[in-house]
């Protein structure tokens, strides 16, 4: 019984996170300005990180957690670089 | 050789925990941590002094509780969305803290709490620009930040 609940909640969590990723992607396509798109990309990174962790719980493999750590670091570096670019790159001083 | 012993030790422990406790990884982790601490020393960060470090758990407790509370508040705002109109806005808060580490901790606390975002600190007028999602009363937010976080941080980093 409790194991069925666990399996269902893992599935529900995966569906929730997938919808969240779709919404972030929607904002990334729609976002009126560049900073909206960068923020959407950052949200997308965090959501995919969480989704990989839920995958890791479903399969019990460590490799998913390592992948999620790497995605987190890539996301941080990418967002910082993009924010720096927005700050210095194309603004008319 | 080792300018930051605590940093090096935690790097070695992290390396071993991620890769397995073997002598080979211990040596590799030591080499990595020595180079990482040299890199850290090249950045010359200000060494923070924490005379009242035993107050830190209190700060962490307050912050975790506040984040949980504002999570629920912001979630209800987002879900009820169009029906209950919320008003967001910018507020300026005068800050007396000067220690850069204390300011950094305050910035992290305010930004990681949903509903408030730290925008910029002006070191000349000593004010902070903060954006609040559900702005009802500006004076209330200023008082909250000053009494709840700033007073405690002043005491910790004095």
């Amino acid at each position: 019984m409790s194991h069925t609940i666990l399996a269902w909640s893992v599935t529900i969590a995966q569906v929730f996170l997938a919808i969240a990723m779709a919404l972030a992607a929607l904002r990334m396509f729609r976002g009126p300005r560049a900073q909206d798109r960068v923020l959407a990309l950052d949200t997308l990174y965090v959501n995919s990180m969480l989704l990989l962790m839920v995958f890791g719980m479903r399969t019990g493999k460590v490799i998913y957690f390592e992948a999620s750590l790497v995605i987190g670091m890539l996301g941080f570096v990418a967002t910082v670089a993009l924010a720096k670019f927005l700050m210095r790159g194309e603004v008319i001083e | 050789m080792l300018p930051y012993p605590l940093l090096s030790a935690s790097l070695v422990i992290m390396w071993l925990a991620l890769n397995g406790f073997t002598p080979g990884h211990f040596i590799l982790g030591c080499i990595v941590s020595v180079f990482a601490s040299w890199g850290m020393a090249a950045l010359r960060p200000v060494k923070p002094r924490l005379p009242k470090w035993y107050l830190l758990p209190k700060l962490v407790g307050i912050v975790l509780y506040d984040i949980l509370r504002s999570n629920l508040a912001v979630a209800s705002i987002l879900l009820t969305g169009g029906r209950r109109k919320h008003k967001s806005g910018f507020i300026t808060v005068p800050i007396e803290l000067e220690n850069p580490t204390a300011l950094a901790v305050l910035a992290v606390v305010i930004t990681s709490t949903p509903g408030t975002a730290w925008l910029e600190y002006n070191s000349l007028s000593k004010t902070v620009l903060i954006h609040v999602l559900d702005l009802v009363d500006e004076a209330e937010w200023q008082a909250l930040i000053k009494t709840r976080y700033e007073a405690l941080l002043m005491e910790i980093f004095k």
């Binding site: 409790s2 904002r27 923020l39 399969t59 | 999570n71 990681s112 730290w118 925008l119 000349l124």
Partner: protein
Amino acid sequence: MNVIEHAGDLPAWAALAVSFFLVVGAGLTLTGTIGFARLPTFYERIHAPTLGTSWGTGGIVMASMIFFTVLATRPVVHEILIGIFVTVTTPVTLMLLARAALHRDRAEGNPEVPAEAPLEREAEGQPAAGD
């Protein structure tokens, strides 16, 4: 719905706790992203992802820690590292992005944004901004 195979001898209380934390964490993340898609201005939108990065991540990390600790299949290092990492990095990225947006809006002369305070020194104005 298949039962997860490798969770064979997980006691009932642990399964329920894991389910609770998973659904709460994922639900908070989803709520934050719904708000992110719906809110009208950038400065309001910047609050929405913090739901996912504070207790959204916290809930999923907690669920995973309970799951693998009770099963005792592996040490829970990655979860702790992910939790610390998300907590430390999210404010930095959000602050940098907010400052970039503020800078762009001021350069364009948008009226909704408060004006720059006079005589600002660049060098000391950014604690924890990752410079």
